[in-house]
Every structure is written in structure tokens, then in C-alpha cells.
Symmetry: C2
């Protein structure tokens, strides 16, 4: 027989599967989930003609090779949807299968014929053939069961009405669904990947602190032991992740002094990001902070407070780093044989030698850098905040994170890439669990809504987990510089409720430190990057209590522990932003209203999209402010809001449905 060209071996697979979502860059990258989260898959599935199609979602956890199946249902316009829940860390695969279903087609047509009394013995005999064929695919007692059905459909001694009853009975449907005719099934050509990370990848509250600023006495270099003493305070505020800037020996050559001066004084401690000195490099500890044992004790103590320590991965060297002498081939050389320092003309960073990631010995270098991660994993660290990943090759990160996760799926990497959007997104796609965002610079209502719609409603939500930071040691925004205490409160509420992951650069935020080095600069006046600070003054204006309340609200409301249920609501005042979040089961509904103007009282009429929230159009319900404890009885969509920045610039309402029974002690549940 002549062969139809090999491309068309599948010539008898008549069903098309296309437009699969989620599918990142044609399946090049995984989507991300945490245990218990759902993977909802949609696809366009269709064939020629008008026969009935069956479609199934297939999934498996690696390395199992046994596929599980979940049903896909037709929504509308050839679009199908199905879902499965992931439960374990690691990688899941999913794909689709679909086929023309002869039994379902036959059954549907028979029903239509019955309606107009067109059905004949021949139609039933046609069904018998399909049922007989299914019996050959069946196992156990069902073989016999199916054979008996087939015989009945053909039986001479049964009337047409009796046969019909059996032909259309739901038992037979169930059997045929179990043993369908899939000879010409189409299998979607790709197996798509889900990376399942632990809950903390989705929901975390970070606090950044420089251990060297933790000493009780002004001027002394703080240590891990000093840092331990701060733990109760940090825990009381409700943070669960303590991020430390690099803890390694700091270079002396070209060390930077206060105010980023090129010539450091002898007392200047230098930037922790100028990593490496005589005392060691990325696997060593800066002597003034303590020993490895001190560090491990800090990690242990923190755990006792429910706090996990996150380290900084800054893959760059000071000129004094041991790598520079031991592996000079890992650095780029200038024609005068000196090592090329970091520069972005006209700026020079002579205290930093970047690695040459594409050097001839790149594979050695990459493995060495992975061994740095392995080393800290051995010390109990599972969270890494990666410094400037966008200045190192993208394939390096893809390789590193993939390799690390093979043995430690519980590892979390946060990308500190303040760079162009596509680079940020690519880093997330290739493996970073969380990412810093442009949040710090999104201050107006329009900016915030536009940005968070992009992050939570577009495909981006499948792979990019935003981490919202109102400030960092590099970023003291204009908004914070000029808005006073209300600005800090506003930005805290926004960060902590718009983002399931957020963080603050600790004491400076808590104490509302707002003085920049110079006008137009976002650098802190006395930047901790280049000097030791002494924060522990008992400032009455501290946001400690407020932060603690906000973090408690986050813990108590599952809606705030994910970004998937975010919706924005209209309010007739450009200075007030209003949005809601609801939990996956829709049981927990939180509505947040924030006054973006730190200077004036603002008020307005809110138009809540009640239907989106699962509330009836003119229901009455309770808006219970979790910040103040105040309870408002609201009805319908339109309600009044007034926010005074001098007391509290935000409401974080939990909406409670009214329980309409007189005998209940409390009207609201």
C-alpha cells in the first residue's frame, strides 16, 4: 500500500488540541504553584463534522510515569476546561488527550431520533457493535456486563422500547466512559510543567536587617549575637523571614566610605556587597559578625520564633577575594593585565570585580558558585535573595536554580532585578520563586491598578510572584521622603495587602526614616550600606504596633495569602484606591481602601462589585475593619468611605455575610 507521507501518520486522529493555557512561551517554561493550589487548564478542542468529542486532562508527578486523568468540560465556542490540584513539592507534568467519541455520538443521535420517532432496530444494532467493542477493552466482570448489553441491543425477543431503555441507561454511559474507543485519540504534542514550591514561595513577610547595626551600644560593630537579641522584636511585628545582607568578609582594597566616598577611612566598615578578603570569600563569615557557629545559632533561634533566615547571594568579588588570586581566569583582564573592575561608563566601581561568566573555564566557575549555594544549604539556609541577577547570564540562573531544586525543592530564590520588564519576567520564568517589582514607584491609583492587573490578571501570574518592598537600603522613594508617617503606613498597607509576598528594609521603615542624601536621590542620608547604624532608640512614633497588626491580619485572612483573588473596585475619588481579595473557596473576603494622599482627609463613594465577591446585589453585610475593630453595616454596592491619614490612612475590612436568623446570638458569621 502506498504510504501517506510520514507527517500524516496521525491522519486518522481527527481532533485538534490548541490554544492550551497556561502554557508559557510554548511550553519552554513551567508554571508555578504551591501545595493545595489548583492548576486550571483550558484548551480549544475540536474536530471536523459534528460528532461528540471527549477530552481529558492528564497529569503526573515526576518521576512517576503513571498519568492521572481529570475530566475536561466544554465551556463555549470549542473552549474546554479542566483542573487538578497539586499536593507535593517538585515537578508535575500535564498534557491533554481528546478523541471523537463514537459511543457518545451514537447515543446523542439516537436520542434525537427518538424525539422524532425515527429510531430503528438498525440504530440499536449499530450501538451493539460499539458496546461489543468496549467489552474487548474491559476487564473483570465488566467484560460480561458489556457483552450482555450488546446482546440485549441485538436481541430478537426484546421490544424496541425495552432496548431503548437499556441503550440510553446511565450505567452503560459509565461503562463506556471507563472503556472508551481511543484508537485515534489525539495527544497534545507537549508535556507542560508545573513547579510546586512550598507555601512560603506564595506567602511571606520579610524583614531586612544589617546584623552589624544590631549592637546595643552606639558605634560598636554588631554581631549575630546582637542580632539574636532583636528576634523577639521582629517576631512581635509578625515577620516570618529575616533577610541579612551579605555576611562575608569585606574587601579592603578600594573600600567605599560614608556617602559612597571612594577613599574609606580606617574605621569605615565597607559595603557588605564588596565580598571577599584575606579572611575568606562567599563561604566565610565576616569575623566581626561572629563565627559559623554563631550564625547557625542565630538561624536556630530565629526558627524558634517562627522566623526563617534568608541570605544574600551576590556573585561578585572585592579585589581581595581569594578567588582573585586562586582563579584569576574567572575574571576579565584589561590589556594592561589588570583585572577589569565593574563599570558602566562614566561610573566606575573599583571595589567590585565581576565574574566573567563566559570565560573558557566557565563550567568550573559555575560549579564553584553552585557550591556556594550548597554550602549555605548545608548550614540550614533555604531562602536566598539574589543580588542583581540581571547582570549575570540568564542561562546561569536557569542552570543553577534547576540543579539546586533537584535535591532541594524547598529552596526559595528571590530575584532582586530592578531592570527592564522583560528581563524581570524572564528571570521569573527560568526559576526564581519570587521577584522584586516596580511597586516602590507605583504611587497613584492608576499606576497601581494598571500594574497589579498586569501582575495578577495576565499570563504573568502563572510564573511571576511579586514581592512588594516599600523601601530597600537602595530605595527611599520620593513618596516616603515627603509623606511623613502616613506615607509609611499607606505603603505598608498597600505592600502587605496587594502582595501576598512583601518585605521592608526593617528599622529604617519602622522608624519612618525619610532623609535622603540629596535632593533627587533615593539614597538614604546615612546609608547603612557604608556605615554602621544604631537603630534601637525607643521611638514613640515607631510603626511597630501598626506593622504587627497588619501582619496579624495577613495571617488571619487566607484571602491575603495569595494574589489570585484580587479585584479592583471603583471609588469616586482619585486619591482613594479600593480593592478586594478573596480566598480560593470564597469564604474569606477582604476589602481594602487606602488613602494615597498622605496630607489630607479624603472621602468618597465606593462602588463594590458585590457579584464578584459572591454577595447578592442588595444584601446587607458587615464591613469589619481589622485595623481598628470598627464594624460598619453596609448594604448594596454604594458605601461611603472617609480616611484621615493622621490617624489611619486605610481600612482593611473583612466582609461578613449576615446570618438572617433571629435566634443566633451574633447576626454575622
Amino acid at each position: 500500500m502506498r504510504q501517506v507521507s510520514s507527517t500524516f501518520d496521525q491522519g486518522r486522529s481527527r481532533v485538534v488540541i490548541e490554544g492550551v493555557e497556561p502554557e508559557i512561551d510554548g511550553g519552554l517554561f513551567p508554571i508555578k504553584r504551591t501545595p493545595g493550589e489548583t492548576v486550571a487548564v483550558e484548551a480549544d478542542v475540536f474536530g471536523d463534522g459534528h460528532e461528540v468529542i471527549s477530552c481529558a486532562l492528564m497529569f503526573r508527578r515526576e518521576p512517576d510515569d503513571q498519568w492521572c486523568q481529570a475530566p475536561m468540560e466544554l465551556i463555549v465556542n470549542d473552549r474546554w476546561r479542566g483542573a487538578f490540584v497539586v499536593t507535593e513539592l517538585g515537578r508535575y507534568m500535564y498534557t491533554l488527550t481528546a478523541y471523537v467519541d463514537p459511543f457518545k455520538s451514537w447515543r446523542r443521535d439516537l436520542q434525537k431520533k427518538v424525539e422524532v420517532e425515527q429510531h430503528t432496530e438498525v440504530d440499536l444494532a449499530a450501538g451493539a457493535i460499539l458496546v461489543e467493542a468496549a467489552s474487548q477493552r474491559a476487564a473483570g466482570t465488566e467484560v460480561k456486563e458489556l457483552r450482555e448489553y450488546a446482546q440485549m441491543l441485538r436481541a430478537k425477543n426484546l421490544g424496541l422500547a425495552d432496548k431503548l431503555k437499556r441503550a440510553l441507561c446511565s450505567d452503560l454511559v459509565g461503562l463506556l466512559e471507563k472503556y472508551p474507543e481511543r484508537r485515534f485519540a489525539t495527544r497534545y504534542a507537549k508535556e507542560l510543567v508545573v513547579v510546586v514550591e512550598r507555601d512560603k514561595a506564595r506567602f511571606s513577610s520579610w524583614y531586612e536587617i544589617f546584623p552589624r547595626s544590631c549592637a546595643a551600644e552606639p558605634g560598636r560593630h554588631g554581631s549575630f549575637t546582637d542580632c539574636e537579641r532583636c528576634l523577639p522584636h521582629i517576631a512581635a511585628m509578625g515577620f516570618d523571614t529575616l533577610y541579612l545582607p551579605p555576611i562575608h568578609p569585606i574587601g579592603r582594597t578600594q573600600r567605599r566610605g560614608k556617602y559612597i566616598a571612594n577613599d574609606a577611612g580606617t574605621d569605615d566598615p565597607g559595603s557588605p556587597w564588596a565580598i571577599g578578603a584575606q579572611e575568606g570569600g562567599h563561604k566565610s563569615i565576616h569575623p566581626e559578625l561572629g563565627t559559623l557557629d554563631d550564625f547557625k545559632r542565630l538561624v536556630r533561634k530565629a526558627n524558634e520564633y517562627g522566623i526563617e533566615v534568608a541570605l544574600d547571594l551576590a556573585f561578585q568579588c572585592s579585589p581581595d577575594h581569594p578567588y582573585v588570586t586562586q582563579n584569576p581566569e574567572w575574571f576579565r583582564r584589561r590589556p594592561d593585565r589588570t583585572i577589569q573592575f565593574a563599570e558602566n561608563p562614566p561610573k566606575k566601581y573599583q571595589d567590585i570585580y565581576p565574574f566573567d561568566f563566559t570565560t573558557e573555564g566557565w563550567q568550573e566557575l559555575w560549579h564553584e558558585l553552585k557550591s556556594v549555594v550548597d554550602f549555605w544549604i548545608e548550614q540550614g539556609i533555604r531562602i536566598f535573595r539574589v543580588d542583581n541577577p540581571h547582570t549575570k547570564p540568564l542561562p546561569f540562573w536557569q542552570w543553577l536554580i534547576t540543579e539546586v531544586k533537584k535535591d532541594h525543592a524547598e529552596t526559595i530564590f528571590l530575584a532582586e532585578a530592578f531592570t527592564r520588564p522583560k528581563v524581570m519576567y524572564r528571570l521569573a520564568k527560568l526559576g526564581f520563586s519570587q521577584s522584586y517589582t516596580y511597586f516602590a514607584w507605583r504611587n497613584t491609583k492608576r499606576e497601581l491598578i494598571q500594574y497589579f492587573r498586569e501582575l495578577t490578571k495576565s499570563e504573568v501570574r502563572e510564573y511571576f510572584r511579586p514581592s512588594l518592598w516599600p523601601n530597600t537600603p537602595d530605595i527611599l522613594t520620593e513618596y516616603l521622603q515627603f509623606g511623613g508617617r502616613p506615607a509609611f503606613m499607606t505603603r505598608l498597607v498597600l505592600a502587605a495587602t496587594l502582595g501576598a509576598n512583601y518585605g521592608v528594609y526593617g528599622p529604617a521603615f519602622e522608624l519612618c526614616v525619610d532623609r535622603a542624601r540629596e535632593p533627587g536621590s533615593e539614597e538614604y542620608l546615612d546609608s547603612e550600606k557604608y556605615q554602621i547604624q544604631n537603630w534601637h532608640s525607643g521611638n514613640a512614633d515607631s510603626l511597630k504596633e501598626f506593622i504587627a497588626r497588619v501582619n496579624r491580619i495577613r495571617r488571619e485572612n487566607p484571602a491575603l495569602q495569595s494574589n489570585s483573588g484580587l479585584s479592583f473596585h471603583d471609588i469616586d475619588n482619585e486619591q482613594i484606591i479600593c480593592y478586594s481579595k478573596q480566598s480560593g473557596d470564597r469564604m474569606n473576603v477582604v476589602v481594602v481602601a487606602v488613602n494615597l494622599d498622605p496630607h489630607h482627609v479624603q472621602s468618597g463613594w465606593l462602588s463594590l462589585d458585590l457579584e464578584a465577591l459572591g454577595f447578592g446585589g442588595d444584601a446587607s453585610y458587615q464591613a469589619h475593619d481589622q485595623l481598628t475593630g470598627a464594624r460598619f453595616l453596609w448594604q448594596g454596592t454604594s458605601n461611603y468611605i472617609e480616611l484621615d491619614p493622621r490617624s489611619c490612612p486605610a481600612h482593611i475590612f473583612r466582609l461578613r455575610r449576615r446570618v438572617r436568623r433571629e435566634q443566633d446570638f451574633d447576626y454575622f458569621s
Copy 2:
């Protein structure tokens, strides 16, 4: 040396290429063009860090394996754009390459350093190394030239200023662009395909006629010879494609009579789509139409009038088709051994036997059907209108069209798939050159704008070439039934100007036949599908002259020969639609305004988007109505339109820029 896992062999390729457009379904399907058209490609291209990236578009015509290159330019936000022009029929491939460009990076940094007088001999020496390396990649005299540049940059006897002048000169830029360092270039992983079809795939005017209705005497069965006599008339109206319903022997068993009656009278000619009788099947000619020689003469004569004959491909059989007895295995059998006729319960089509495309001998069947196409290609036919392709397997069409085009790239297939949108689009993706659309049922301004934006502004435009038919033998729309002559004029202008490809079911359209079989039906009262008509009455109301004018306007205005330059313009009357088309070179600008209300005069103020048309914001210009010859002097964006359906429901303006020189005889060009 330890190996970094094989996935990362490309670890030193630091540039990412993603978001490539056009790329249909991840590269699974080609885009379509005609000779002279441009393939504009965009992509997101970026790497780590801030070095300069170079990117090139690569393309080749199959089967050449030599790639050509076109430059890609950065637009904004890591988005790049480049283009090439296709010139030959067949298949082109395109892909992208991008790399960190050390020379361009060095040059940019040097310029920045020069600005702040930071540049040193070391910087120039670094450049010398790059130039020296380029000399090793160079050929001919350029080897020496590059070496000399390298020497100069290092020369001890040249001053820094002299060296700088040479380092930054444009000659050197040119040389390095010719011999760039591409050692770690990223090559986009996919090679994407362009199918180039002839101009007619993009621009065609179809006329459908039943040859059997061409006889001069009422009641006689018309023949090809009668059809020949209609050619001058059809040519005078300006059509370039004459589409004939099936011309094969018509089955007698279960033949349908007038008004789709199940029992045909002895005189009933039957439906031409019930193909096959004793006299032959898909490769034979219905005896009453004439001989194969008669047919070939018709084709030849038509060509003399600039008209190409298109045949119908209806892959189905009457019960009398020779296949039924010769290859009974190609049909599905019912349990009573009869062959399964077409049915969609409760509807039965007992005059039609569908093929079983997934029969065991499917490959034989598919090849036989291809031989039908091959047969008519041998008789000189290159255009096929495919009947109901959506009721035959999609892989069959993909295979058939791909195979036919291997030897006959000039073949055009029009898909008559009035079905769900995704199936229609899939047929276009897999190879159909043109497709029927929902145009017939898009009557209001909003419907039209929404549909044509989807067709011309979304990715659909890359593979789906709409063919607009105001009527077909199956479709006499409500709009035509109740709108009288103005409705026919309106729909003609819309079809002929919104679509570069359009067609009419000929005499019935020209003569404004508007009587349906019954209320709520779109079937013609005396459907030519089941009876012979006699059209050639000299109806004074015939649209012949109007159609001729519209087709002439299409031929004279390149803007109307493509859909790529379509834009809609606002007008403050819901009954008037206004849009423009411009040619690729923007030299030809056509503005169309159509009154959609066939009953009343409608008027309104038009807001032309002049910038989109390449006209200055308050320029004065001439709107020259190609339908009436009237010339309006317009200025700016806002102009008045009034359309009386009883005279002419549309303007087709050609906009002419004013030539502002007194000495010109004519003020407009």
C-alpha cells in the same frame, strides 16, 4: 573538566530571543504572503547586563539552504523589528540570531568616556584586540585593513586624539558589522515558514454561475458552450474568477427535486453536489454540460477575457458514484449492510454518501482524492472552491494541500466552511488560501467593525484571507430579502472594499433576486441547486453597470487589493460606516463611506483620522468619489457626508493631496 548538564551547552549564549511575531501556534503553521509583500518580524531580544546587542533577521527560500540577513532595529522596551520582502512563490523560512556585540559595546563605552575625558590608552588597546580578532574573521583586502586599524589603536607614535578619531570612525564600524564576533550568538530555536502564493490569493473578484442555467432558451439545460457566451458579460462587469459548482455527472438514486423535495420528478436535474452516476464520478463531466474538450475550451476562452475558471471540490458521492461499487470499503456501513448516508439527526441526506476518511484503507482513499485534484490541474484548473471542508478530517486537508502545492505552488484553495470560528481558522492555518467568512451576517456598523478588526488587526491576518460573499446559492440573507436594490448595492460595496477577495453568486445578485423560499429561510425561492434557471432577461434594474464600476475602482486602487491598510473612522451616525484603506507605500488612499440603512437618507459628520492616513492635521485635500466622479474639497478631520440609498448608498473616495504650486495645471495629484 566537569560538564555542566547538557541542557546548558549554550551556557555562554547570553542573549534571549522570545515573543517572536508572527509565529502561528508556536511555529506549527506558516504565515501567508504574495510576491512583493513584506514579512515584518518583531521579537523581544535582550541579555543580562548592559552591553550592546546586535540582532539579525535570517531568511531563505526553500530549497536554498543559504540564509540571507536583514537588520533588526531596537524599537523600545527590548522589542526589535526587521523585515524582508518575498518575491517568489513557494516557501520561505525565517529565524533570528542575536549576540552580545563586544565591538559596539566597547565603542559606546569609549564614547561615554570621551565625553567625560576618562578615556585612556588602555581603552584603545582593548579595542585593538577586538579589531585584531575581526581581522581573523575577515577576507580579502579587509584582513589587512583591519590589521592596520588594530596597529594604529596600539601605535606608540600616534597621539590619543588621533587614535580616537580612527577608533570611532564609521569605516571601522562598517567593517566590524561585516565581521562581527558571533561565537556565542543565540539562534532562535525555530525556523518559521512563509507560504508565498500568487497575487490572486490576495486579490480576486469571483462570480459564481451554474453553467446549466446559461442556455439562451428558457427551460433548456445549458452547456459549457452556452456558458462561453456569458463570458463577455462577466468580463464587462470586471470579474476575474468564474466559479462553477460541480460539473460532474449527477446521481439519480434519491435525487432531490425542486424545493429540496425528496422525490425528484423525471425532469428534475438534481443537485450538482450529488456527484457520480453511471457516466462517471469526480473526474468526469456531466454529459448535458458537454465534453471535456468543451470544458477546456471554456477555460481557454475565459482566459482570453482575463477570467480564470475555479472548480468545486465536493468530496462526497451520490449512491450511483462508481466508487460505491468499485471501492465500497471507502464508505461506512450500517449493521444492515447498507451504506451510511449523510445524516445529522433528525435530518437525513439520503442522496449523499460521505467518505469514511478513517477507513482501514484511508491512505488509498486519500491518494485517490488527491488524484482528482491532480486530474483537474492537468486540465488547466488552478483554483478550487472546497465544499464543506469542515466535515472532512483536518489532517486530510493539511496533507492534500501541502502535497499539491509541492508541485503547484500556484494552486489556490478557497474553504467554504460556514462553521465555528476556531475550525474556520484552523482550516486557514493548515493551508487554505482563502476562506468564506461570516460577512453575510455582519450587517450593523458595530458588527462589521468588530469582525474586520479581528480579521485584519489580530494574528488572524497572517494566515486567514477572508473572501466576502454577500450571497451564495445557500445564503440569501434577511438584509438582501428586505432591503431592495439599495441593500444589494450596499453589500456589494462593503464586500468589494472591506475585502480584497470577494465574490457574488452571480446572476441572482446582479438582478437583485430577493425572494426566499419561506419566512425565516435563507434559501432562494427557486433555488438553482435543484432546478435550471433562466437568468439572461435584460433587467433594466440590473446592477451590471454598478458592479462594473466597483470592480474597476478595485483594479485602479492598489489600496483595495489588500486588507493590510484597513482603518475605521468615526462618524456620528450609527447607520453610516466609514473606513479607509491605503496601499503599502501609502501613495494610494481610499476612504469608503456606506449607508447601512437601505430605506432612508442618512447623513453625519465624519472624523477622519488624518494622521493614520499620512495627511497633515489641517491639510486641505480632495475627496474624489470614484463611483460618481464628484470631487469634494475637504479640510481637516471633520467633514459632512450624506448618502441617499435610492441613488447610491456609498462613497468610494480617493483622497488626493493638494499640490500647492500655482503653475500646476491641476491642483491635485
